[in-house]
Amino acid sequence: MAVPTYSGSFGPAEAERLLWRAGFGPKQGEIEALAAKGLAGAVSSLTNPPREKLTGPQPRPDGRSLNPAVTSGHNALWWLDRMVRTNQPLVERMTLVWHDWFATRGVGPGKRRMPLEQNYMLRRHALGNFRALALEVTRDPAMLLFLSGVHNRMGKPNENYGRELMELFTLGAGNGYSERDVREQARALTGYTFTRVTSRGHEGFRYDKRRHDPGRKRILGKTGRFDARDAVDLAVRHPAHGPFFVTKLWSAFIPTPPEPGTLGELVSLYRSRRYAVKPVVEAILKHPDLYQGPRMVKPPAVYAAGLIRALGDGITQRSWSGADYGGDSGQRLFDPPNVSGWDESSWLDTGTFQGRWKVARLIASEYSLSPGENRDYPANEDGDTAVNRALAFWGSPTLTRETRRTLIEFADACARDANVEYLRTAYRVSRQNALRMLIATAPESHTS
C-alpha cells in the first residue's frame, strides 16, 4: 500500500490552494504557471526549488537596510521579507513550521542575534532529516539558553529542556514516557555551557565533559551511559515518535487529521527513509485531503506575507518600521507565546481579527486614494466596477458569491448617499479604499 495521491484535475483552484498551504500565496502569474506543471511537477518544483534568490524591492522601511540582529522589530521584518521575496516558498514555510515546533524565545543581551542564527540553522534543515535537526536544536545556543540547557550539569540536573524534548518535540505529552524518564533524560543532556557574556550576548558555547554526567541512565526502557546524541536517538526511535511526527507535520498543511491508513503509511515512509522530512512533505502535499478537504485558516504571518506578495510589493513602507503588525494578529515572529509554539487551532477570534485588520490596513495604506489627489476618479463608477477595481488591486483573489453580493450592496449604498455634487467623487474614492479593506479581511482571505 502506498499513501493515497490526489487524482482529480489540477487546475488554478488547486494550484492556488497549494501555493497558500505550502508557501505564502501567489504572486502575479504564479497560479497559472504552477497549474501548468500538473500535481507531481508542481509539488516537485516546491520540494526541489532552484538556488535561493530573493527578488523584488529590498526591505528599507527606515531608508536603510534592516539590522535584524540588533534593532527591535527588525528580526520579524527581516523574516517577513524573505517570505515575500523568496523563490523557495516551501523552504521558508518549513522554516516557519520548525520555528513553531521548536519554539524559542531570545534571552539576554543576544536575544535578537541568537534566534536569528537559529533561524538560519532551521532553514538549512528545512526539508532535511528530523533526527539531525533535533540534535542541532538540542545544542543550539538560543535553545540552550531558553530552556536552561546551560544550567543542566552533573549533580545539578535541570529538567527543563529534557521534558520538552519528549513532550513537545518528539513524543507528545505523556506519550510513552514517565517522570523518571524526564529526570534521567535531563542527566543525559548535561554538559553544555558557554564561556562568557558580552554586549553581543552569551558566547563560546561548547560541550564541557566535566559538566556531563557520565553515569548510567535508564531512559525509555534502555540503559546506558547516554549523552545528548543518545537522548535524541532514543526519543526518535521510540515507537510513539513516528505517529507524533507525522500527525504534527500533517496538521501544518491539512486541517483534518489523517485517516489511520494514511497515518500508518506515512509513518512507514518516514521510518524507511530514516527520518527524512522531504518524502513525507511530498506525500502530504499530494494527498487528496489537501485538495478535497475543507479550507484552513492561514497563520497570521502567512496572511501578511500573502497580501504583500499579491500586491507585488515589499517591506518598503515607512509604516512598517516600529509597527507591531504581528503581535495583534497573534503571531509575532521570533516571539512565540511559549515553548509549545502557537496554537493553530485558535488563530481567529475577535481580538486577532482586529489584528489582521490592522495588518491589511498597514499594507493597503501606502496606496490609499484621496479626494484631493484623485480628482479624476470616475464620478459615475458603478458598484460592480468598483468591486472589480478593488479585486484587481489584490491580484484578483477568488471571492464567494455572498461576499461579492454584500460588497456590491455596500458599494451601491455608498453611491446612493453621495447625493450632493461634492460627494460624488469623494465618496467613490473613499469607497474604493474601503472595498480594498473589505476584500482583504473577508473570510475567504483569512482561509485557503
Binding site: 536552561s148 544550567h151 505529552a173 515553548v339 477570534d349 475577535t350 486577532t352 450632493v420 474614492v429 479604499n433
Partner: protein, 463 residues
Amino acid sequence: MAHHHCRDFDRAAFLRGVAAEAGRGLPAVKPGTPLPAGTGLSRRSLLMRSAGMAMSIYGASALSPGAFEAGVAEAAAASPNAPVLVSVFLEGGIDSMSVLAPTGDPKYRRLRPKLSLPDGAGSAFAEDDRLRWHPAAASLAALHGAGKVSVFPSIGYDHADQSHFTSRHYWEVGQTNANAATGWLGRYLDRVGTGANPLQGLSLDGSLSPALATAQAPVAAIEGPGSYEFWGRGVWGDVEEWMHEAFADIGAAHASSPGALGAAGAVAARAGQLRRDLLPFRDDADGNKAYTSPVEYPAGDDFPERLAGLAAMLAAGLPIRCVALSAGGDWDTHDNQEEDFADSLKLTADSLAAFQSDLEARGLADRALVLVWSEFGRRAEENGSAGTDHGAGGTAFLIGTRARGRMVGEFPGLGRGLDAEGNLRATSDFRGVYSGLLEQWFATDAAAIIPGAAGFARPELVR
C-alpha cells in the same frame, strides 16, 4: 443632509450619561480625579445606543449585527446584577512556597538553601503560623487580613501532570481529560448564556482564553475596551460607517458555512458587534481614555490596565458574565528565581488589590469574584540553578467581598506532605473549587458542567 456618525452619537449619549450620574456621589473617588466617565455609562445609555443603532442596512441574518445588538441589550436588561467571575491565570506554574513561605517548617531551609525567605521577612499568615507572606505580596496579605481572600495553600489534583500544557489544559477544561475541547466556563456559558451576547464570555488577553471556549454560545476577545476600532486610511464619512456594517455582514453571510470559512465569518460578525458595544470606551483622537478609574492602578503594564478597563465595562452595565486573562510575569522560574519573582508578584498583587478597590468604589464589589490560579506548584527542593522545577500542589486565591475568606485545605508540610517525587500533595482539588463556584456563585448544577462533580469535596467559598 443628515450625517450621523456612530462615534458622535455615542459620545453624546455618553456625555448625557455622565451628566445624569455626576450628582449621585460616587464612593471613594480619589482626590483630583476628573469625572469617572466609565462609571457614568449607565445601562440606559447602552439601551439608548441600541435603539439608535440597531439598523442593519444589508438585509437580515440570524447573526446580523442588529441581532447581536438586541441580544446584548436584552442580556443587560434581563439581569443587571448577574454575578461575574474573573479568572486570572499565572502562566508557568507559580512557586507557591515563595508566595506563602513555610518558614515554620523544620525542613524548609534545608530544601531551599538559596531561595528561602530571610528571617522575619514578610508578614505572618494568620490562618497557619508555619507560613509567611512574601513581602512582595503585601497588598494581597492586606486583603486577606480584611477577610476578602480565600487561600488554597496546596491546590491541584492527584497524580498531577508536570507538563505546563497538559496541566494547564486540565484546569482550563475543568477535568483531567486531554481531549476535552470546551473550557469549564465555556460549558457554563453554553448552558446559561444566550446565542446573541458575545460579551458574556470575555477574554482580555487579545485572543480567546481556552477556559472560555464554548461549543455554541458566542464569546469575545479583546485586549482592552479602549482601542477596539476598525478604520481604513482614506475611509471616512458614511462610507466608514457602512464599511463597519459591511465587514460584519460579510462575516454573517458565511457564519453557517462549514469549517474554517464559517469560523472566520462568525468571528467577523462578532467583531462588528463588539465594536459597537465598546464604542463608548474608545480612546479619543489624542489617545486619552474615555473612562477614568476611581483608584490608582500600577502603571506601565497590560494586566492592571485590562483590569481597570474591565471595571469600567462592568460599571457601564455591559452584560459580562465570565472573564479570563493572564497576569503578567514569567512564573516558570527554572533559573535564578529571585531575579524577577518579587517584581512579578508585587505587580500581580497590587493590580488585584487595585481592582478590588475599584469595584468597591463603583459599588460593584458584591457582583464579582476573582479566581487566581496556576497550572501547578513547583518542586519543594530548589534545583542547582537557584530555581525550581515543575511540581504538583500549587496555590490559588479567591478574592472578593463575597469570598468567604477562609483557607481551603491546609499546607501539607514538607515531611509527609511531599509525594514520592518531592512535590507538595494537593489538599484541595480544582474541580471541587469549580463545582463550588458554579453552585454557590452561579447557582448552577455543577454536575452538568464538571464531569464527576459529585465526587469532589465542596469547600464553602461564598458568603
